[in-house]
Symmetry: C2
């Protein structure tokens, strides 16, 4: 994703070289976007499958329901995708500050993600702490399971 | 975890060797137990941290509360540990049947785990399907994040 263009001009016995590097995006930014998309798709598919099953059970599909479901799919996808992207950034920051890479990083990154999402949602201080604990626990569990 | 004991006896110009292998358990069983314990500890620590924070906020610790909290810690630990152990078994089974190892295995194993835990809890058919979808989504997301 990084364009590297080189212009050369020779003359008067000397050789001048100009390197022009065009940043199409750095690998970390791409990783964030890919993670966002992956988790957003997982969340969207989950909602779509659940709503699809409900429709199948009821045996009726109305236009109004379809619109509502589509909105829910987009919202859930964006929400979980954002959480995943924030988590990736937090993992990067924690690794940068602590220098090592183990399960404690995941725990800390999870806790920071939970807290930051909670703060963004204007939650109370108690809710922020609980979300931080939950985020840390989920990230640690995911790390241990893989 | 595998004991290997060797008895040797020399005499009459010949050497007899008897190998005795004591199975302390197979590696897969140990993996299941370790996963159970790891996730149980994560879940227990989560509850302990949350309850500890509530106590800290209220500023009071009674003996009754302590007993209740301890029961909750044990219950949550056992519950999430069991889910993790079932997931590990499902991953093993799915890999055995499908032969390959990728994110689809995690999804399928997660779905089977969600469904089996739900069936064990005597949930309705709708709840089983929803739990299977949720389990699959969580397992896939965890696989993608790591």
């Amino acid at each position: 994703m990084m364009g590297n263009t080189r212009f050369s001009s020779s003359g008067y016995g000397s050789r001048k070289t100009i390197d022009v590097i065009i940043h199409m995006g750095n690998p970390f930014l791409i990783q964030i976007i890919v993670t966002f998309l992956k988790i957003a798709i997982v969340a969207a598919v989950r909602v779509a499958a659940e709503e699809g099953y409900q429709c199948f059970r009821k045996g009726s599909v109305s236009k109004h329901n379809f619109k509502q479901t589509f909105t829910k799919i987009c919202k859930e996808g964006a929400y979980w995708g954002t959480i995943a992207a924030v988590y990736i950034v937090m993992v990067f920051l924690v690794e940068m500050f602590l220098g090592v890479s183990d399960w404690k990083n995941s725990m800390l990154a999870g806790a920071l993600t939970g807290a930051s999402i909670s703060i963004y949602k204007d939650s109370s201080r108690d809710k922020v702490v609980v979300d931080a604990i939950t985020g840390g626990a989920i990230a640690t569990a995911a790390e241990f399971l893989n």
